[in-house]
């Protein structure tokens, strides 16, 4: 019988701690599949974040180093400058990248560091229990915005891809989602492209992935996927935000 589906070599055979309906496990699997398919498992070095995905190093069977909260792109910069031939990518949440780590991300992008950022946007701080993130939508209730995020006092959500778009050295920026089979496939393609950009030593690439967090959104898994389409993707439009031919 022909095997049509199996665990990627780059994914460890262990149960994941993620909540039911969470997007991290899908994104982990996509990365693992791509590392296998592109023959990059033995070249990859990943910098996971502080946040839900901090334990990514128990799931991806590749070299990993933990960074302080928000500093993943600075750590990745140090690694990549020493090992320019390795595939170096950070995996960061919205709080990690767009709040505490904004300066590091922005400047790594501006320097055109030849790294890839997998940016998981679920509009909340997941690990700490659902507080407001820089990407929390206006009016959205979180544990620290019980009346809903007020854009006049808390600011509107930050669109990271659009923020980085204007920097000359960003090469590839795409926003995708993992809320439907079609979007999952698009996400895989986007990550593949980003890794490809890095292999060509073309510069900074980032894939922003809208990812469901049913637990902190107080929704079930199906409603979370619908909410991404109907609400989140309106604030954060999907698609290629920037692509410099390389």
């Amino acid at each position: 019988m022909k095997k049509v589906y199996q665990r990627p070599r780059s994914l460890r055979d262990v149960p994941m701690h993620y909540c039911p309906g969470c997007g991290h496990s899908i994104i982990h699997r996509l990365i693992a599949e791509l590392l296998d398919e592109m023959g990059l498992r033995e070249s990859a070095i990943c910098v996971p974040p502080a946040g839900c995905a901090v334990l990514a190093y128990y799931y991806l069977d590749i070299d990993m180093v933990e960074a302080p909260h928000g500093r993943a792109t600075a750590v990745a910069t140090g690694i990549k400058r020493v090992r320019p031939d390795n595939l170096v990518f950070s995996y960061q949440g919205d709080g990690d990248l767009a709040a505490i780590g904004t300066a590091e991300a922005l400047h790594a992008a501006n320097r055109g560091e030849n790294i890839t950022v997998i940016f998981v946007n679920n509009a909340v701080y997941g690990m700490t229990g659902g507080q407001m993130a820089p990407t929390t939508l206006s009016g959205m209730k979180t544990t620290t915005t019980p009346a809903g995020r007020n854009p006049r006092s808390e600011g509107p959500p930050i669109r990271v891809c659009e923020l980085l778009q204007g920097l000359a050295n960003t090469v590839y920026l795409e926003r995708t989602a993992v809320n439907s089979p079609a979007n999952v496939m698009k996400t895989k393609k986007a990550i593949k492209k980003a890794f490809g950009v890095q292999q060509k030593k073309a510069g900074f690439s980032l894939v922003e992935i809208l990812s469901p967090c049913p637990t902190n959104w107080r929704m079930d898994a199906v409603a979370s996927c619908t909410w991404i389409d109907e609400v989140m993707a309106r604030e954060f439009p999907l698609g290629v935000i920037k692509e410099v031919p390389c």
Partner: protein
């Protein structure tokens, strides 16, 4: 060996290059800017050399972490307020057991303070500085030559024990010029193989470098492991200099620039017309602190005069080392004030005569 006239900061930079440092990350702050400037030029000449002027101290220390885990010898430098910002990264380096060399050219504080030489970061450097149970190895050079020698040595210590190491100078040492012989790499020096670095999991199991240990028993064991490591460092790496101790009735304890001034003061006091029998113990490692040297001195000497360019920080370590033996006298000049040898000498002499009078009573 070529003797060259060099700034303290440049001597640190050149010694780092000779020690095999290929990565420097930093952020401008006075009075240490000459070091990143020197590194920006020199690392461009070194194969594989990496120099980045980072967007912040936070970014700089984390770039060091990245370069270190990738296997390079990496360094950053700053001055007091910038070193405060680096503490997060230093704690992560210590927790993840990654080697790195951090240079602090201290200035007056707290807050923005000023840009004059000071020794007010002693607590921060020797008590961990960042969060969590760890100790930093801290060298305190007192001359441009020592800045070069200790920086060179610091890279070996960092690699051998997998620990961050600090070079703690001050604005005076950083900015002054002295003749110096830059150490050259010795052939055949054996360093432990870096079997933890990330190179991609080719033909070996994947590696993981981290400081997150959720299991409390494992975290406890990790803490004790760091303690054992520091004990080993204490036994093997503690350094100090004794000066005119043989016949001394009083010992001055000072480090760095303060020790230079103290030496001048002692030389004045030992002139024949005064002939005060004063010696000095100068900690070269302030962490680990030369406890044994002070305890041994306390068997014959009863008066210890601690001089710091601070309100009194190292004096706590002297007190701990003496365990109630002897009498401690303290003279401190914080805020960037650098007293002259004559001024310090007067203060030492006053305490010396008081001590003699007390003994006679």
């Amino acid at each position: 060996m070529n003797k060259k006239l060099m700034y303290g900061t440049h001597a640190i930079g050149e010694a780092a290059i000779q020690a095999g440092c290929t990565c420097y990350f930093g952020y401008p702050i006075t009075p240490q800017n000459e070091l990143p400037e020197y590194m920006s030029q020199r690392l461009a000449e070194v194969p594989g050399g990496v120099f980045i002027q980072a967007e912040s101290e936070l970014a700089a220390i984390n770039m060091v972490l990245g370069a270190s885990v990738a296997g390079a010898r990496a360094m950053t430098s700053s001055s007091s307020p910038g070193i405060s910002l680096k503490q997060e990264g230093i704690s992560f380096l210590a927790g993840s057991e990654l080697p790195a060399v951090i240079v602090n050219i201290m200035r007056g504080g707290p807050g923005l303070g000023n840009i004059a030489p000071a020794q007010s970061d002693y607590f921060q450097a020797t008590r961990g500085g960042g969060h969590g149970d760890y100790r930093l190895v801290v060298f305190a050079p007192a001359s441009v030559q020592e800045m070069a020698d200790l920086t060179f040595h610091a890279f070996d210590v960092a690699d051998e024990y997998r620990t961050p190491v600090m070079i703690m100078g001050d604005g005076m040492l950083g900015q002054m010029m002295e003749p110096v012989i830059i150490p050259k790499p010795r052939k055949g020096k054996k360093m432990p193989e870096k079997d933890y670095i990330l190179t991609g999991a080719r033909g070996r199991p994947a590696r993981l470098v981290k400081s997150l240990i959720l299991d409390t028993k494992d975290m406890e064991e990790h803490n004790w492991k760091l303690v054992r490591k520091f004990k080993r460092i204490e036994e093997r790496e503690t350094r100090w200099e004794g000066y005119m101790l043989d016949d001394a009735d009083m010992v001055v304890i000072a480090y760095g620039t303060a020790a230079r001034i103290a030496k001048g003061a002692i030389n004045r006091l030992r002139r024949e017309d005064a002939n005060l029998r004063v010696g000095m113990i100068r900690p070269i490692t302030v962490s680990p602190f030369p406890v044994k040297a002070i305890r041994e001195a306390a068997q014959t000497i009863k008066d210890f005069f601690v001089f710091e360019m601070s309100t009194g920080q190292m004096v706590d370590d002297v007190r701990l080392a003496l365990e109630g033996q002897g009498t401690i006298h303290f003279y401190g000049r914080p805020g960037g004030v650098v007293p002259s040898a004559r001024e310090l000498g007067r203060s030492i002499a006053r305490r010396y005569y008081q001590a003699i009078r007390k003994r006679k009573q």
